[in-house]
């Protein structure tokens, strides 16, 4: 397996929180592989450690032990600044609670990550790229609206446009439809499928909903900090590692 390396490869990731001198193990040795172009659903009961795993995948958090290879690079060794650059350049993040800047227009929200990119992007180019992105998520006529003037589904689409503005190869979405009704949630999921198929963006999304998971090509199940079921190879491999 070492001759071929997946886009994302977790090797025996352990995450333990320490609360008042008590070790709380959340991830107890997770190993998964995700290839470029996959659309993966991560499922599991509440408290099983899905968000924890997503934060590690999204470089927002560091594992207690284990290896995380992203694009043939060991992430756990990177400094905070290097991880910030990686997040900016190679990863998009969509949150359950949208997390938009409250009193800023949709356009300003979408251009925001460009301020932190290493290469200089002029204001005009930034605006143009953001408006393109917003058109793609169907918000061409809502660019100057503030989040409070948008519906939940529209807000989540702004968040998706923001996650994609730097053209990252991977998109992480932690319960992106958790706050949406089934109709809008369907819209958002269709958008994910479209991004996955047309643009080849690798998408990993967390969900409780089996209906949502049906949109995915592969489902990874996690229970009590361990992968319990997935597509044959990844589950077997995880089992084999142990």
């Amino acid at each position: 397996m070492d001759d071929f390396m997946a886009l994302i490869e977790l090797k025996h990731i352990v995450k333990t929180y320490r609360i008042a001198d008590m070790d709380v193990p959340v991830l107890k040795g997770v190993s998964i592989q995700i290839d470029t172009g996959e659309l993966v659903a991560l499922m599991g009961s509440s408290g099983s450690g899905k968000s924890t795993l997503m934060n590690i995948l999204g470089c927002l958090d560091r594992p207690t032990s284990g290896e995380y290879w992203f694009n043939q690079q060991e992430i756990a060794q990177l400094s905070a600044d290097e991880r910030a650059i990686l997040r900016n350049r190679s990863m998009g993040f969509v949150f359950q609670s949208f997390n938009l800047l409250p009193r800023a227009s949709a356009l300003e929200n979408v251009t925001m990550p460009l301020s932190y990119s290493a290469t200089y992007i002029s204001d005009r180019e930034a605006r143009q790229r953001a408006s393109e992105m917003l058109s793609r998520v169907g918000l061409k006529d809502r660019m100057d609206h503030e989040p409070s003037q948008l519906s939940g589904g529209q807000q989540q689409r702004v968040a998706i446009a923001r996650a994609l503005i730097n053209r990252p190869p991977v998109l992480f979405a932690d319960e992106p439809t958790g706050n949406l009704d089934s109709h809008t949630s369907n819209e958002v999921l269709q958008m994910f499928e479209q991004l996955n198929q047309e643009d080849g963006i690798t998408i990993i999304l967390v969900t409780h909903d089996a209906a949502v998971a049906r949109h995915a090509q592969r489902v990874i199940r996690i229970a009590d900090g361990l992968i319990v079921d997935g597509d044959a190879d990844s589950t077997l491999e995880a089992a084999g590692k142990k």
């Binding site: 927002l60 905070a80 910030a84 650059i85 997040r87 900016n88 932190y116 200089y120 730097n166």
Partner: protein, 460 residues
């Protein structure tokens, strides 16, 4: 991240809460405004003091008889010697740093013209060089008296504008006779107006006459006549004491007090002086030559008065630099005091900024987490909050500058205090307010930059 983008982000953040931003900067506004107003008013008044010193003659040096000479200190040396007309001549002759000098004999008595009378502030007996020394070259009317008038002790005089106003009520006084101590003086000229000096004393309330005339005819007769109006009973001046006056009363006698020893008399062949003068006004050639002039005068007078190495001077030399220092130090003390108050207010303003920035960091924890999640590094966050507080302070500083300038302008308009624009203070205010922003904004910004992205995102 480019600076204009940081600035825009900061401005957007501040715009979200304009009322709070305004109230936060109030401390800076007041502090900077106070600094600017203080500096402008303070500079204005010290400039005014300087100007009035210059009008008095900034290079003027005053030579007065020493206390030892007039007070009768037990060491007898020198007590019988005070300033003489010969000292005045010697100073002019022997001191190269002196450009002009004038002897002065003072008197204070009533001046009468017709049925008007007036007690001038100053009645000076002097020489024509007085005008040059005092930098008072303009005559409003007539001419100054001459050296010949001095030699002959002629009964002529020159009046200041105040005297003309009080005694003549607008008539031209030239050629008229006024009476000083029952002695008739012919008015030969009127001085140009010089206004009040920095002590608020009217410099135009003056009568000038040849010193010989004042000495022998006015001051000399003063002791004998006791039936004078109350205002004219005082002897010529505080510095000319009875010892001096007695000498003029009994010419040819040695000083009555203290008795001169024979050795001293032998040491001091010209010790007996019949005539003393009250002061010598000296003008140094330039302000930089004042110390040299003082040195030369001291040397000349010590030699003439036969003062030995280890003895004190029997005369006093005063120059305007001390006066200038004293007056400017008073105003600069006030300015510094008020500046301290203003700086304290800036400090309080800075603490206000820090407080609000800390509140803002807490309020925007989620925003900080989000920015970090999309790739902001710790230094980007630090910079953003730092720029925000600096912008806040600079805006406050700018408003403060306008306010302070407006305030000092109003003071000038309505209280007629002199003010002087101070570009240095404005530059300092800008630097100080930016400094306050950096110093007091750093801690909140640092706190923001140290947040953990996940905890920040999860913050409620």
């Amino acid at each position: 991240m480019k600076i204009h983008r940081i600035l825009r982000t900061a401005l957007q953040a501040l715009q979200r809460n304009p009322m709070r931003a305004m109230l936060t900067t109030l401390g800076i506004v007041i502090g900077v405004g106070a600094v600017i107003a203080m500096m402008e008013i303070g500079n204005g008044s010290s400039a005014a003091v300087q100007k009035s010193i210059a009008s008095m003659g900034a290079n003027t040096i005053l030579v007065l008889p020493g206390t030892a000479a007039s007070g009768g200190v037990s060491f007898g040396f020198g007590t019988s010697i005070t300033l003489t007309p010969q000292d005045y001549e010697a100073i002019l002759r022997e001191c190269p740093a002196v450009s002009s000098a004038a002897p002065v004999v003072r008197a204070r008595t009533q001046v009468v013209y017709g049925n008007h009378n007036w007690v001038p502030n100053t009645i000076f007996g002097t020489t024509p060089s007085f005008l040059e020394v005092r930098n008072w070259t303009d005559m409003a009317d007539g001419e100054f008296f001459t050296e010949r008038d001095v030699l002959n002790a002629n009964k002529v005089c020159v009046l200041g504008q105040t005297i003309v106003r009080e005694l003549f009520q607008g008539e031209s006084p030239v050629g008229k006779e006024i009476r000083i101590k029952n002695i008739s003086f012919r008015v030969v000229g009127v001085l140009a107006s010089k206004g009040a000096n920095m002590m608020g004393m009217d410099q135009d309330d003056i009568v000038l006459a040849p010193w010989t005339t004042i000495k022998y005819r006015v001051a000399g007769s003063m002791l004998t006549s006791t039936n004078q109006s109350s205002s004219s009973t005082t002897s010529s001046s505080d510095t000319s004491t009875s010892v001096n006056t007695l000498n003029t009363l009994y010419p040819g006698q040695t000083s009555l007090y203290p008795a001169q020893s024979t050795t001293q008399a032998a040491d001091n062949p010209i010790s007996v002086r019949f005539t003393y003068i009250d002061q010598i006004l000296v003008n140094a050639a330039s302000s930089s030559e004042i110390p040299a002039a003082i040195r030369q005068i001291t040397a000349t007078l010590r030699e003439r008065h036969h003062i030995r190495e280890n003895e004190d001077d029997d005369f006093n030399i005063r120059d305007m630099t001390e006066m200038t220092k004293m007056l400017t130090s008073t105003t600069s003390l006030m300015t510094n005091l008020l500046l301290c108050v203003a700086l304290i207010s800036l400090l309080v303003g800075g603490v206000g900024i820090m407080n609000i920035m800390l509140v803002s960091v807490t309020e925007r924890t989620r925003e900080i987490g989000l920015r970090m999640a999309v790739g902001a590094r710790a230094r980007d966050i630090l910079r953003q909050f730092l720029v925000e507080s600096v912008v806040l302070c600079l805006v406050g500083g700018g408003v403060g500058i306008l306010l302070g300038h407006g305030g000092s302008y109003l003071v000038q308009m309505f209280l007629h205090w002199p003010i002087q624009n101070s570009p240095g203070a404005i530059a300092a205010a800008v630097i100080v307010s930016a400094g306050v922003g950096i110093i007091f904004g750093y801690y909140p910004a640092w706190r923001a930059s140290r947040l953990d992205p996940i905890e920040a995102l999860r913050y409620e």
